[in-house]
C-alpha cells in the first residue's frame, strides 16, 4: 500500500510579505493517478505547484517523495527528482526544432562538446511514439500549434524521467478535439505509472480525466475526495463557499430593434460571406473550433484588420470602420481574448487602463482631467467589485479575475452600444465568471447588443440568445440555446454530417 503513494505534503505553509498564500495545506498523490487541483484564482493552487516545482521555497511543512523526505531547492533540482511542470506559457525555444528542444541543456554527447544528433533524434522519436503523438521531430517548434507544443513539453518532461507531471491549465487554449488527444495521452502516462497534478477551471474536464480532486480556498485545504463520489454543485460550493444559484444566470428578454447588420463580409482565405444581424438586448454567441475565424471576424468588426468586401449597417446607416478609434467613436467595444497581451497595459494603473479607450471624454485640448478620470475609475472599481488597493494600483498586481474586470470596466466606460466579448471568462475563477455574466445581463437590459465569441460550450449555451457556429471562415449554422442542441452544435463546428 505504501508503494502506491508517490508524494505527500504535510502542513505546508507559504508566507509572503503581508500575505499567507498557503496555510497548513496537506496534499498527497498516488502512483498513476490524475489528481485535479481546484480553486478560484488566488486560492493557492499556483503557490502549491510552485513549491513542488522548486520556484518557491516553502516557509514550513514537510514533503515526502516515495516515502523519503525531500527539500526541493530549485526548478532544476525538482526535475532531477522527477517532478516536471508544464506551465501555460511554454518554455520552448521557437527557432530550435523538436528534438533540440526536448534535450535542451541535456544533449547527449558523443565526443565532449559535440552533441549526438542521431541519439537525440532516436530518443525523441521513441518518446513521442510512446505518447502516441505524431510530430515530426525535425520541425522547428515555432511551426507547431499550441497543442503540439504542449506535447513537446510533455516529451521533454518524460525525457527527464518525470514521475510527477504538473500541468497548469493545460486545456485552456486547446480545442475540444485537442483536449481529447491530450486526455488519451494522459491515460497512457497513467498506465506507465506517471502521476499527474492537473489544474483546471473547467469542472466538466475534471470529471472526464480526474481520479481524485483537492479543493483549495483562500490558501487552505478544503477537501480531497474521489471524483466519482462528488457532485458538481458540491464542488462549486467547496470552491466558493456560497451557493451559486446558477452558473449561467442569463436573464433572457425580448430582443429589440436591429443595431448592426453585417452583410457578405469576405476576406480571402479567412472569412467567407459572413452575414448576420445583432439586435438590442441580445447576446449573440459565436462558437467554432480554433482557427474557424471568430477572432478574425471580431478584429474586422472593430476596425483592426482590413477585409476584401462586404458592408456594415449600424443603426440603419451604412458605415465603414477603418480603425479602432472609429469603432469606439461609433459605440463598439471589443474585449479581447487575451487580457495580458491585448487587453491591458500591465505596467499601468487601473485608472490609466480603464480610461484609455474613452480618453476623449477625460481630456480637453489634449489635457487630462485627472479628477474626472478618478471619479469614473472609482465608480467602476465599486460597481465591478474589483479587489484592489486603489485606482492607482498597477494592474499587474491584480489576480486574473480582477484583471478581467478591469478590461470590462475599460469598455463599460466607453458607454458602447455594441460589445464584442472574445472568450470573456477564459482562465478566471467561478465567482468572477458569474459576476461578468451578470454584467452582460445588465448591458443587454440597458439595450446594448452583445456578441460573445466563446469556445466553451456551456457558456455559449448558458448565456447566448442565438448561436452562430463558424467553421473554416463561414457561418455553418444558427441555433437556439437548448441543452439538446449541444451535440448538433458540436457536429456543425466539426463539420460532421448527421445522418
Amino acid at each position: 500500500m505504501i508503494d502506491k503513494i508517490m508524494l505527500q505534503m504535510f502542513h505546508i505553509r507559504q508566507v509572503f510579505p503581508g500575505v499567507i498564500a498557503l496555510d497548513d495545506v496537506d496534499f498527497d498523490l498516488q502512483r498513476g493517478e490524475v489528481h485535479i487541483l481546484l480553486g478560484e484564482n488566488g486560492a493557492g493552487k499556483s503557490t502549491l505547484i510552485k513549491i513542488l516545482s522548486g520556484a518557491y521555497q516553502k516557509t514550513s511543512g514537510l514533503i515526502k517523495l516515495e516515502g523519503v523526505e525531500i527539500d526541493i531547492k530549485n526548478p532544476r533540482h525538482a526535475q532531477t527528482l522527477g517532478i516536471s511542470t508544464i506551465y501555460q506559457e511554454f518554455n520552448l525555444v521557437p527557432h530550435l526544432n523538436v528534438y533540440e528542444n526536448i534535450f535542451l541543456g541535456r544533449e547527449p554527447v558523443s565526443i565532449p562538446g559535440v552533441t549526438n544528433r542521431g541519439e537525440m533524434i532516436r530518443k525523441a522519436e521513441e518518446i513521442l511514439d510512446d505518447l502516441g503523438v505524431a510530430i515530426d521531430v525535425h520541425a522547428p517548434v515555432r511551426t507547431l500549434g499550441v497543442a503540439q507544443k504542449q506535447m513537446v513539453e510533455v516529451a521533454k518532461a518524460l525525457s527527464m524521467d518525470a514521475k510527477i507531471l504538473i500541468m497548469d491549465e493545460p486545456t485552456s487554449t486547446l480545442t475540444d478535439r485537442e483536449i481529447q488527444d491530450l486526455f488519451s495521452m494522459i491515460r497512457r502516462l497513467k498506465k506507465k505509472g506517471v502521476s499527474i497534478i492537473f489544474i483546471s477551471h473547467r469542472l466538466e474536464e475534471a470529471y472526464d480525466i480526474g481520479d481524485r480532486v483537492t479543493v483549495l480556498r483562500d490558501g487552505r485545504h478544503i477537501g480531497t475526495c474521489d471524483m466519482d463520489q462528488i457532485q458538481k454543485t458540491d464542488l462549486i460550493k467547496m470552491m466558493v463557499n456560497r451557493e451559486l444559484k446558477e452558473q449561467y444566470p442569463r436573464i433572457r428578454m425580448q430582443a429589440g430593434e436591429e443595431i448592426l447588420r453585417v452583410e457578405n463580409v469576405n476576406k480571402k482565405g479567412i472569412l467567407k460571406d459572413i452575414t448576420f444581424s445583432l439586435h438590442r438586448g441580445e447576446i449573440l454567441g459565436i462558437t467554432g473550433l480554433m482557427g474557424a475565424g471568430r477572432t478574425e471576424l471580431a478584429r474586422i468588426l472593430f476596425g483592426v484588420d482590413q477585409f476584401d468586401n462586404g458592408q456594415f449597417v449600424f443603426k440603419g446607416k451604412m458605415i465603414t470602420i477603418q480603425s479602432p478609434r472609429k469603432a469606439i467613436n461609433l459605440g463598439i467595444g471589443f474585449l479581447t481574448e487575451d487580457r495580458k497581451s491585448q487587453g491591458l497595459i500591465l505596467k499601468q494603473s487601473l485608472q490609466e487602463n480603464i480610461c484609455l479607450p474613452s480618453i476623449e471624454r477625460f481630456s480637453r485640448w489634449g489635457m487630462m482631467d485627472v479628477q474626472k478620470e478618478n471619479l469614473i475609475t472609482e465608480r467602476y472599481i465599486k460597481e465591478l467589485k474589483i479587489k484592489t488597493t486603489g485606482s492607482r494600483q498597477k494592474v499587474k498586481y491584480l489576480s486574473g479575475g480582477n484583471q478581467q474586470k478591469v478590461v470590462m470596466g475599460k469598455w463599460l466606460a466607453t458607454q458602447a452600444d455594441i460589445f464584442i466579448f472574445d472568450e470573456p471568462t477564459r482562465g478566471i475563477d467561478v465567482g468572477s465568471k458569474v459576476e461578468i455574466y451578470q454584467w452582460m445581463n445588465r448591458l443587454t437590459k440597458n439595450g446594448s447588443g452583445l456578441i460573445m465569441m466563446s469556445s466553451e460550450m456551456p457558456e455559449i449555451l448558458g448565456m447566448s440568445d442565438r448561436i452562430l457556429v463558424m467553421r473554416h471562415g463561414h457561418i455553418a449554422g444558427e441555433f437556439l440555446p437548448d441543452e439538446s442542441a449541444q451535440e448538433t452544435i458540436l457536429q456543425c463546428a466539426l463539420g460532421v454530417k448527421n445522418e
Binding site: T336, S341, Q348, L356, I359, M367
Partner: protein
C-alpha cells in the same frame, strides 16, 4: 497615514534611490574637494549638464514608448550647422532659431515615419539617421566649423537670469513642461500606453503610428534645442559636434529609472540621472583624475545603477 507613506515609498522609492545616490556622490566629492560645493561650481555643473539633460528629455519620451534614438548627437550637429549658416546669411535671430529647431524636429519625424510606416526597428532607422545627419552636416560645411555669432545669439548661453545661466533656466523650463506633458496630457498618457503594450494601445483606439512619429519628432526637437544652446555657448557650430551624445542621453534616462522595455520612466528621474553623470564628471575633473579613468568610472556607475534598479524592482513585486 503609515500606509500612505508606505504607498508613496513603493511608488516613488525608485526615484529616492537615485536621489540618495546623487546626494551621496555630492557628499563624497565635497569631502575630497571642498571647492566642489561652492555656488559657482554648482552652477558650472548645472550648465555643463544642461545640454545632455535637454537631449535626455526627448530620449525619455522615446524610451518610454519602448524605442531608442541613436541619432540625437548627429542631429545636434546638423541642426547646429544649419542654424549657424542661416545666422551668417543675416536671417533674423528668431527665424534662424526656428530653422535649427525645425531641422531637429524634421529629422525626428523622419525617424518616426521610418519606424511606423517603414516598420523598421527604432535601432536600425535611428542608426541610419545617425550617419545620414552626420554626413549631411559634414557635406554642408565641407567639414569646417561655422564660427562667430552676434551677442544677441550668444546671450542664450552666456546670459543670466537672477544669476542663473540661461541654459539652466531653459533646462528647468523644459523639464517642467515635459513633466506636465507626460503626466497630464493625452500625448503623455499615450506614450506610456504605447510603450507598455502597443497591441493593447492599438485595440484601445490609440493611433499608435501617429503618436509614435510625434514622439520621435519631439526627441529631434530637443536635439535641435541642444544645438542652439551648444552653438551659442561655443560661439561656433561644428559638424563634428555631439559625438556620443546619444550614449550620455541614454545613460541619463536609464540611470533615472526608465526601462528600455518601455512603459515606465519619468523626466524627474532622467534629470537626476543627468546630474549624476554631470556631478561625477565635474568632481572627477576637480580631483584631477584622468579622463581615461573617468570613462571607466562612469561606465561602472551606469551598470551599478541599473543593477540596483533591477534589484529594487524585484523587491517591489514580491
Amino acid at each position: 497615514m503609515n500606509k500612505q507613506i508606505k504607498n508613496f515609498l513603493i511608488h516613488h522609492g525608485r526615484q529616492f534611490g537615485t536621489l540618495i545616490g546623487l546626494f551621496v556622490l555630492i557628499v563624497v566629492l565635497w569631502i575630497f574637494s571642498p571647492f566642489f560645493l561652492t555656488f559657482s561650481n554648482l552652477l558650472n555643473v548645472a550648465q555643463q549638464t544642461s545640454i545632455n539633460a535637454i537631449i535626455a528629455v526627448g530620449m525619455t519620451f522615446v524610451i518610454i514608448s519602448a524605442g531608442i534614438d541613436l541619432s540625437v548627437g548627429s542631429i545636434v550637429a546638423l541642426a547646429g550647422v544649419v542654424l549657424a549658416s542661416t545666422l551668417h546669411r543675416g536671417v533674423p535671430l528668431p527665424f534662424a532659431i526656428m530653422m535649427g529647431l525645425g531641422v531637429g524636429f524634421l529629422c525626428g519625424l523622419v525617424n518616426g515615419i521610418l519606424i511606423t510606416q517603414g516598420r523598421l526597428p527604432p535601432f536600425i532607422s535611428t542608426l541610419g539617421m545617425m550617419s545620414v545627419a552626420r554626413g549631411t552636416a559634414l557635406l554642408f560645411t565641407q567639414g569646417r566649423p561655422i564660427s562667430g555669432f552676434s551677442a544677441d545669439f550668444r546671450f542664450l548661453a552666456t546670459g543670466e537670469i537672477l544669476r542663473i545661466p540661461m541654459p539652466v533656466v531653459m533646462m528647468i523650463m523644459i523639464y517642467i513642461v515635459a513633466h506636465f506633458v507626460l503626466k497630464s496630457t493625452k500625448l503623455g498618457r499615450y506614450t506610456y500606453a504605447i510603450g507598455g503594450n502597443e497591441e493593447a494601445a492599438i485595440l484601445s483606439g490609440v493611433n499608435v503610428k501617429f503618436y509614435k512619429t510625434i514622439v520621435y519628432g519631439i526627441c529631434g526637437l530637443f536635439s535641435g534645442t541642444a544645438a542652439v544652446l551648444l552653438s551659442a555657448r561655443l560661439n561656433s557650430a561644428q559638424p563634428i559636434a555631439g559625438m556620443m551624445y546619444e550614449l550620455d542621453a541614454i545613460a541619463a534616462v536609464v540611470i533615472g529609472g526608465s526601462s528600455l522595455m518601455g512603459g515606465e520612466g519619468t523626466v524627474i528621474g532622467t534629470l537626476i540621472g543627468a546630474f549624476i553623470m554631470g556631478v561625477l564628471r565635474n568632481g572627477l575633473n576637480l580631483l584631477g583624475i584622468s579622463s581615461f579613468i573617468q570613462q571607466i568610472i562612469i561606465g561602472s556607475v551606469i551598470i551599478v545603477a541599473v543593477l540596483v534598479d533591477m534589484a529594487l524592482k524585484k523587491h517591489q513585486t514580491s
